[in-house]
Symmetry: C3
Subunit: 258 residues, 3 copies
């Protein structure tokens, strides 16, 4: 496939690459759609044994493409559609993938990047990678289902710290908190990811798919509970001054006034 989420298949391994040059592979709306299509294609291919997901040119994914936000974030129905259909459609396709997913994390792993990484099975990072979701600076919360996803993968302590105090953590810190399987020197992360994919590839493929289905049955429950929880309207903040100020200030390269 062409586009900004690229799929190549070699020797029963699917290589998925996020590519948004000049934006540290930040996810645009079209990229969420492409992410969904790529993982739906992977799920249809019974011959695949592993997915290796990475970002281009030394970064995994810096978050969402903020330049698009003013076009849809300040109206409740378009904000809801963005999160519930476009973003969750992409994340759900990754979560629904029965093939083990190795994610190779370099550089920025922020916001949308953190959410995508949270859908993967085996997480490797280079020592200088950075992790966070400092959207409280942009004037908006994380959508509840996405929060539940990050909370399950990164732990409640880390999710609260990232969301409520907007900290950015380094690879060593999130590894100690249980988000990463391994941290390796930056120059080794690509080779290590290939070695891990190669290791996964040699194992029993049907067993892997059945194990992934069992993990999913457990995780789905938690997220479903979050989605149907006590929040009656998670997107009512769309038109608020705070939301508008945060996004606008970022685009204008000035500090937001909350």
């Amino acid at each position: 496939m062409k586009g900004k989420v690229r799929l190549t298949i070699a020797d029963s391994v699917a290589h998925v690459t996020l590519s948004h040059p000049g934006k540290l592979n930040a996810m645009s709306r079209v990229m969420w759609q492409e992410l969904r299509e790529v993982f739906e294609a992977i799920q249809q291919d019974a011959a695949l044994r592993c997915v290796l997901l990475a970002g281009e040119e030394g970064n995994f994914c810096a978050g969402g493409d903020i330049s698009e936000y003013a076009a849809f974030r300040f109206e409740e129905s378009s904000l809801r559609q963005f999160h519930d259909e476009l973003v969750w459609g992409g994340l759900q396709a990754v979560l629904d993938c029965d093939v083990p997913i190795v994610v190779q994390i370099e550089g920025a792993c922020m916001g949308a990047g953190l959410e995508i990484a949270s859908c993967c099975d085996l997480r490797l990072a280079g020592a200088s990678a950075k992790f966070g979701a400092p959207i409280a600076k942009l004037g908006f919360p994380m959508a509840p289902r996405e929060l539940a996803l990050v909370m399950c993968a990164a732990g409640e302590l880390t999710a609260r710290e990232m969301l409520l105090s907007a900290v950015v953590l380094d690879a060593q810190a999130v590894a100690q908190r249980g988000f990463l399987h391994r941290v390796v020197p930056d120059q080794d992360v690509a080779d290590e990811a290939v070695m891990m994919a190669s290791r996964v590839k040699r194992l029993a493929p049907q067993a892997a798919r059945l194990n992934k289905q069992a993990f999913r049955a457990l995780a789905h429950t938690q997220r479903a509970l979050a989605a149907t929880g006590s929040i009656t309207n998670p997107y009512a903040y769309a038109a608020s001054a705070e939301h508008r100020e945060g996004v606008t200030a970022f685009v204008d390269k000035r500090s937001p006034q909350f």
Copy 2:
């Protein structure tokens, strides 16, 4: 407010202080009621952006006020009322607070103190702080909802160790187990807590409240399940000899004989 749980508000930050001189801020019955009132007042104040919770004079909270126990713990209905209404009323008010809560932990963080800290979002501790719930020495279990709260915040491993072997752990150990965000030298913990509150205060306040509601939707589920679990009567132990011996021995300053 006067009383033993004090609230002062300055520059959109609510400072809540536990103050029970000579008892390391152990929670008496009146303090649970005051804790509830203070946090209900905070929740009503739309202008607040952060809560900073601490204990007076170098300790957070050493547990419950054991000198009161003989008056109500050995009868099932008064024990039930204590846990389900008084204690849970206080904890629920902290949990229901939509404003991010930074807790500054020094010295003793035991039993009730551990439970209160488990309701907070960002947990900082001084290096010499101590954590535990050695109530098995006092002849009684933790109430199931409180156990679920500690288990979610401190992890199942740590909760089992604290309850079943009555260990007291140091700050470094519970940080490694994922209960604390940061451990700093004792003399720096107050300044660090103020800096973290100040950082939280500058972020988007509506986003923080929405994120807290989402975290709560997830956490509520787990605790609700625990509360409605397989335990038909968690307070039937009230009049047991073991319970009476544990509490009485403590008050008499002798070793309990179980």
Copy 3:
């Protein structure tokens, strides 16, 4: 009791020993039945205050007894009976035990051993112990309820790594991930386990039983959800070529071809 799962009682502590000489205490079908009987007996004995579970001769348990697998694993109904009745019957009896269980882990703690250890309350290991569930090399997945058990005890990150990439981790690694309470030099683990059992024994016994019931109420929920999750038939893989190849290759001492 005689047999391969031995129970001796001394001074209100039940000592349970896995003994399968020459197989690193691997669990045969008869041992699962014995494990159930031993723990049902323990649960009936109101005078017990602690269980100390260990394996004989420097190993805890290397997994299942693979030499038996060809006799029952390749037919769906006998595979289902094995997992749902025999294995889960044993694990359930350990989980249902109201007495605190200290597990002393030396050497191999793999597969079935990891599952049994996951049912215990206080986990001590010698520094050279090894942990994993590399059954993807044997061509089969972990049964969903057993997976949920390991996932809750060892964490999702570690469970995915063990199942999907078949890694074997050392004691220090799984301690850092939150599976173990303590790692001690190999020569000290037996003494430390006795000391921990002795510490537990002196605490209030009714309180311990009530705390264990509360922990169980929480944990049951997660596992029940997993068991009734989206997997309609977790044992349909019984007769698959992959399953047969994995088990057969192991018995034949050759590499499986998946």
